[in-house]
Amino acid sequence: MFIEDVNGGTPPDPVWGAKILSTPSCISFACFPEQDGPTEITIGSSNEVEPGPLLVFEGDLETPSRKVIISGVEIERVLSVDVAHQTTKVRIWYSHPKWPDKVTISVD
């Protein structure tokens, strides 16, 4: 899945074995294998979401449109949320280090 501004960002170069990669304008993260079951994704401000057990990413994301979307390779838009600033601090928590069936994302 990809987290980026609604007008798109530059996806990171794929690296074999890496579950989370990022550029200043796009963050890619792995989910639970789809043939094994669904993934629950939650996104919101830090005072809206409950952090998961494992913090796997913390960084800044360029959000010039002040709207963040989550999309997949074959899905244009899964979730979207408005943010306050043109640079947004993003944190990602996994429920499991290898097979996260819950992914929590805070955007501030």
């Binding site: 074999w16 890619s28 294998p33 043939q35 094994d36 997949g72 074959e74 097979w99």
Partner: protein, 266 residues
């Protein structure tokens, strides 16, 4: 009598129409011709066209030596300009060399039939290879190069074909296209990922034999050791709605493939 090769005939025609074709006539050709018929033989034409000791007038034009030779002989094509050169007149096209139709070998001579055939073949191979790459990566271009001679153009086309093949291999290693370890596959019912139990069993069977089609590993990396069922061509790149097939893939190659597809579609 067997038919004469068309390429041979074409080559002979071009050869004997050259301005310096008289060089191909051996000096003692007359002893091979029936006596009395020498003047009617085509080789006599080449003799009359050019002789280093040909009588010329004050303007450089061939002069009549009798016997129907010289400028008034309708069979002779003179290479002397009958009119003096006038300043400001255009006597030739100002066309850049090698522009438009026609190819040369860089020395001002026509390409051989072999060269021409090779050029056609390698340019077709290069076009096909580039088209294959652009099925997955529409923006891809081979490295541009300039060549003037026909051998140069052959080398350029060969290099483009090699570059395209290298790009296809690179894409295959990233999961775009059947990978280097691809073996059996099953037809995809469609782009959806609503696979049946039978399809999942079959993909796992194939994967147990040949592994991930991209990296060859026999460890799918998933929770229950099921291979990821991978559409080829990846659905997001299947702009022509071509028939897809399903291959076993490991989780890590599937993740990398997703990133590559995202880059190719942005």
């Amino acid at each position: 009598m067997p038919p004469i090769n068309a390429a041979y005939l074409e080559h002979q025609l071009k050869r004997w129409m050259r301005p310096d074709a008289h060089h191909f006539v051996r000096p003692d050709w007359r002893k091979f011709v029936r006596p009395g018929f020498e003047d009617d033989h085509p080789f006599a034409l080449y003799e009359r066209k050019y002789r280093s000791d040909q009588l010329r007038d004050d303007h450089g034009r061939w002069a009549d030596e009798g016997g129907g030779s010289g400028i008034n002989d309708s069979r002779v094509i003179s290479d002397a300009n009958p009119d003096p050169i006038q300043a400001g007149q255009q006597y030739a096209q100002n066309r850049p060399r090698n522009s438009g139709a026609g190819i040369g070998n860089g020395q001002g001579a026509e390409p051989t039939p072999g060269q021409a055939a090779r050029l056609v073949a390698v340019e077709a191979q290069a076009r096909d290879a580039v088209a294959r790459v652009r099925e997955f990566d529409p923006q891809w271009q081979p490295t541009p190069s300039i060549s003037e001679s026909v051998e140069g153009r052959i080398a350029t086309a060969q290099a483009e074909a090699r570059e395209a093949q290298a790009r296809l291999s690179e894409l295959a290693r990233a999961g775009i296209g059947p990978g280097p370890f691809a073996g059996e596959s099953i037809p995809a019912r469609g782009p959806e990922r609503d696979f049946t139990s039978a399809e999942r069993r079959e993909i796992n069977r194939i994967g147990s034999q040949t592994g991930c089609h991209t990296c060859g590993t026999k460890d799918p990396g998933t929770l229950y050791d099921d291979y990821v069922i991978d559409h080829q061509i990846p659905t997001r790149l299947n702009l022509r709605d071509a028939e897809q097939r399903l291959y076993p893939q490991c989780l890590l190659c599937s993740l990398r493939q997703g990133g590559t597809v995202r880059q190719l579609t942005r």
